[in-house]
């Protein structure tokens, strides 16, 4: 059983010298779940981006380790799946092609052969798999983002606005996913939606910046 730990120490972020947040620290391991809440503009998405490695913090350190061994910063992306409003798929490719391209670039090998179909079915977009993403509705695009995020079986799942654009059925699938994830890895969600917050045990409220999980 892989033991994964994500810890951040004294993270602060500034943009053009405006402080978004400072001095955030926490540590998460297997089966932990964290919710990041706060009003619009409080930095939820920014913190989520820092946790994925998409942004570098102005101050502080992030470390990810697996079975006590530290994973280099360059490889963090292999263990994290992100679903977020600012993730975009390739419009000119179909849903299936997008997933295949991602699987190839991630170099998942033949072990991942049946995964794109399975994920497309799981998130309910299998029928439209050969249509260009350009033709998808925003709800379908969101479902495709979930399929893409799960493709490499990430130990850490970060969901920014998990149920945005989703209908009841979609939201139910996502909630099921969150429950499963908390059983096998780490779940981090950034949201203010009460229905989503039920799935997270810990909470960081960016409205009052110095909270510690």
């Amino acid at each position: 059983m892989k033991q994964i730990t994500l810890s951040i120490e004294s993270i602060s972020k500034e943009f053009n010298r405006r402080i978004i947040f400072e001095n955030i620290s926490f540590s998460l391991s297997q089966k932990d779940s964290l919710a990041i809440t706060g009003r619009n503009g409080s930095g939820k998405s920014t913190l989520a981006k820092i946790l994925c490695g998409l942004l570098t913090p102005t101050k502080g350190k992030i470390s990810l380790s697996m079975n006590e061994k530290e994973i280099p910063a360059a490889d963090i992306h292999r263990h994290i799946g992100l679903v977020s409003p600012y993730i975009t798929m390739y419009d000119e490719f179909s849903g299936m092609e997008n997933l295949l391209v991602f699987a190839h670039i991630r170099n998942l090998g033949s072990a991942a052969d049946g995964d794109p179909e399975r994920l497309l079915r799981q998130f309910g977009i299998y029928e439209r798999r050969n249509d260009e993403v350009r033709t998808y509705s925003s709800g379908m695009k969101q479902r495709l983002k979930y399929a893409a995020a799960m493709l490499h079986h990430p130990e850490i799942l970060i969901l920014d606005e998990p149920t945005a654009n989703l209908d009841e059925e979609g939201a139910a699938t996502v909630h099921k996913l969150m429950r499963v994830q908390t059983g096998v890895g780490i779940l981090i969600i950034a949201t203010n939606d009460a229905k989503d917050l039920k799935f997270a045990v810990h909470n960081i409220d960016l409205n009052k910046v110095n909270s510690v999980a």
Binding site: K49, C52, G53, L54, L55, T56, A74, D75, H77, I80, L82, S84, Y86, I87, T88, M89, Y90, D91, E92, F93, V101, F102, H104, I105, R106, N107, G109, S110, A111, D113, A148
Partner: protein, 263 residues
Amino acid sequence: MHSSTRGGRSPLAHYDSIFKTYYHQNLECGPAKLYLEDALKSLFVPAYYIFLKDSRSELRTRYALNALFMFVVTALSIILFSLGSEAVSSDVLSGILWVVIFFSSMSGLSRTFVSEEERGTVATLQLLTRPTPVYVGKLIFNFFLTLSLNVVISLLYLLLINNFVIQSPAIFWTTIVLGSAAIASASTIIAAIIAKANTKGTLYPVLSFPIMLPLLMTVMNATRLATEGAFFAEALGEFQILISYTVVITTASIVLFEYVWKD
């Protein structure tokens, strides 16, 4: 993280036989296998698939290809009109050829990075793989794009302009290939830089030209030698410069790309 429970043939099996032939050893011996496997996994394979993705995307949408082709046709037409029936020396014609090539490159080579920024797929790519494969994949894409473009331009140029006669085709076509590699290497890193700026289009030639000047001078000189019928050996100095230029810029770019790519 080396899983040996994969179904099917691993990409390593193919290289195993090549390795065996040359080194009379199995790839199974420790360090060599790990190194090669690591390089394949983390660099070449992702780079190759990024190159494929970009190619497939271009072929499907054809935005850049159409515009580029029309640009080349327009540029050559203007030159033909202005030359008229005037007989211009082959020195000047060599120079003009590379002017057309330079501006065509400026029209087309930034697309690989600018399109990712404009569509917002940068974050997606950042989460898929390390920065270096992204750079290498796009460099390979730009190389093939420049090479095809330059071959088309050269052929049209030879066909349409009578005074331009190549007496040493070996020198000329080697110059085209090496010149394309050099142009691709310089323009790809600059494309990555301007993709993050506000005024991308106009900034691209402004940043590229000073960097590419030694390269342009060298290829113009080599082309001149080709029109004069020089021996292949006479152009070796030029080829050495082109190769070392490409190597130096590509190396510097690989080191620096991460700073450009990541926020």
